[in-house]
Assembly symmetry: C2
Homo-oligomer: 282 residues x 2
């Protein structure tokens, strides 16, 4: 990035990535202010940084905090579960934003997140993708670590790409598990880790399967990029898989070195792919 | 059916349907012989009928039993899990059939079942669909029971039809759960009941969702028709759903009266649809 030094506001869900974005922003010469979503952001992760914790529904408080700290750029990072409207308890500004979200509240995740990004833009913020800051956490096509997929695994990756893209076009999910041509499990709302646990139960005899995880076609990259961490590798291994294929340039690795070490330790391949080169043979 | 009286061989997996097919075949003037797959067929269900229990891999024994009993027509009915090749222990004929299945063993379920039906045909049997015998267990389009889907539920059904047909074209699964436009869960290998349990955990606030279950496009109807029973209704209710939409003329109800009674008792709608009339509005 070649932007002027500014203050980056980080809207933080769970996991370690909010702090990684903060580190990267500071290294690039920016100031940082973090808003942690109560119940999702991890206090230990935010502790070293200037931050406030705010209920998800308190949009008015968020906007005034972001403005009080002079944030011009925003990054949304870290998982939050789709909130229950009942539990949201919006403040006055929150209620106005809910009204502006309107039908998008009842669309798939993409529709909802894209609408949120649009509204934050209308409020005068530049919404940036976490990948713009974490460029070192985004892999180019190629194998990470010691293990590479064999012909069967490559065929499963191709099949998984076709399946995941079909799912993604319907705004359903970002991943699936394929073993020897059979789709064991498909991800919807439950998330990747739950899908991996299930595919372990449906495991077929023979060589283990692969997890394929891709950005949905047309997905808003600034809100919900696919993420892979060492835990994903451990869960894939526990489910009997042989490796993970993910979309190069469009996946955040929470810790690339730790992912690679874990893949080598567990004997899994970890490959960043360009889905366009993995189309099914006709 | 207007076939001559003959002996119908029933290859029986789990659940009550093998006995229902046997009753219907006998009512139509046929003799019946059942082969129960060990570990899947339920002894109590088979007990009143002339039957033998055979390992799934013992294809030679199955074929000679079917011929010894003069079976000319076959019906495959009742769920079996996709077997582990290791656990199959094929007999000599079983090994020959495995070789003939060849690549289909590693295709999706449709490919495998279609290949099995083809091989049984090549062996001189007429393979019939269970729905040919159980015509009273297959609903025409319309609502069963007291409850009908409202506008939101109808919109969710339309979305679920689009999703399920896309999945079906990829030979993945027969169903999904949609709530207020959001796809909560998608069925692959784990089966409908596991998907329902999961969608209960992913449930969103607001009106409950719907289960949509359809035949896959191009699916071999003689081997794996979608099935709904009272248990499906109880599981859907436990997951917070408001109803079930299934494909008219292509779904077996294990007990139509019991399904309707259970739907009324639980306050669920149960609707048989023609998917062609439930396409998404453009």
């Amino acid at each position: 990035m070649t932007t002027e030094p500014t203050t980056v506001g980080i809207l933080a869900g769970g996991g370690p990535l909010p702090a990684k974005v903060a580190e990267a922003a500071r290294a690039a010469g920016h100031s940082v202010f973090i808003i942690g979503f109560e119940g999702f952001a991890e206090p230990d992760v935010l502790a070293p940084w200037l931050h406030e914790c705010v209920r998800l529904g308190a949009a008015g408080r968020m906007l005034s905090l972001l403005r009080a700290h002079g944030c011009s750029d925003l990054v949304l990072i870290g998982p939050i579960r789709r909130p229950s409207l009942r539990s949201l308890c919006p403040d006055a500004e929150g209620a106005r934003i809910l009204a502006r979200l309107g039908k998008a509240l009842f669309a798939g995740d993409d529709g909802l997140l894209a609408a949120l990004v649009r509204i934050l833009g209308e409020e005068g913020f530049r919404v940036r993708g976490a990948h713009e800051f974490l460029s070192h956490s985004v892999a180019r096509p190629g194998v990470l670590g010691r293990y590479t997929p064999d012909a069967q695994a490559l065929a499963d990756i191709r099949h998984g790409v076709a399946v995941t893209q079909a799912l993604g076009r319907l705004d359903i999910g970002q991943g699936c598990v394929v073993q020897n041509g059979v789709v064991l499990a498909v991800e919807a709302m439950e998330g990747t880790d739950a899908m991996l646990a299930r595919s372990g139960l449906c495991r077929q005899p023979g060589e283990g399967g692969v997890l394929v995880k891709l950005l949905k076609p047309g997905q808003e990259k600034r809100a919900d990029m696919p993420t892979i961490g060492p835990v994903t590798l451990r869960n894939a291994h526990a489910a009997g898989l042989r490796g993970i294929a993910f979309e190069a340039a469009h996946t955040l690795l929470t810790d690339m070195q730790a992912c690679q070490t874990e893949a080598d330790r567990l004997g899994l391949f970890l490959i960043a792919i360009d889905p366009a080169t993995y189309v099914q043979p006709a």
